[in-house]
Amino acid sequence: GPKVLQIPSHQIIDMGQMVTLNCDPVSNHLYFYWYKQILGQQMEFLVNFYNGKVMEKSKLFKDQFSVERPDGSYFTLKIQPTALEDSAVYFCASSTLTGVQDTQYFGPGTRLLVL
């Protein structure tokens, strides 16, 4: 089936540094998402993005977070500055936004460890 890729698979950084997580969505998809899963907890929605704009965001999407997708490139999640509580697995997803055929396709996740 359609594949969403995430780069890198793992990232270790020091608290206070900036990190950018990259997502390569399915090629004809228009709607993009980030979810966060802290170890041992359930996956939680962060944000979704369409046509260059944030459409929905949760309370977990702090001011230090930003998303963008420059033309034809990766959909990115940037955290600046990072905090210890940002350690988690971040999943990217994409969908076509065509109605009943919509399905969110998920990437394998980026494991972020903030020290």
């Binding site: 969403v4 929605f45 929905e56 949760s58 999943f91 919509d102 969110q104 396709y105 998920f106 990437g107």
Partner: protein, 115 residues
């Protein structure tokens, strides 16, 4: 706001036996409901989804789920479990469409064992 409860963190089932994974949701409107499976080091994969119509919905790999509105439940079933079904299973709900933000349950780990 919506929420999802998966009361069983782990389910051990003999190969060849039937499986039921429980899911209850809370949402005041008409929910969009999903079951996803996650294999180790992979992204989530959609098993099935439901919004309307026949309350028993068929999915991939022999899975099905039944929507029971009166009970706010969307339990997942499989008639005969195979060792390859070993994975985490997540129930999810969204509010306004298949492409909107997903609220996940905490997941159920399925552990097939020899009969």
């Amino acid at each position: 706001a919506q929420s999802v409860t998966q009361p069983d963190a782990r389910v051990t089932v003999s190969e060849g036996a039937s499986l039921q994974l429980r899911c209850k949701y809370s949402y005041s409107g008409t929910p969009y409901l999903f079951w996803y499976v996650q294999y180790p080091r992979q992204g989530l994969q959609l098993l099935l989804k439901y919004y309307s119509g026949d309350p028993v919905v068929q999915g991939v790999n022999g899975f099905e789920a039944e929507f029971i509105k009166s009970n706010s439940s969307f339990h997942l079933r499989k008639a005969s479990v195979h060792w390859s079904d070993s994975a985490m299973y997540f129930c999810a709900v969204s509010a306004w469409g298949f492409a909107s933000a997903l609220t996940f349950g905490s997941g159920t780990k399925v552990i097939p064992c020899l009969p």
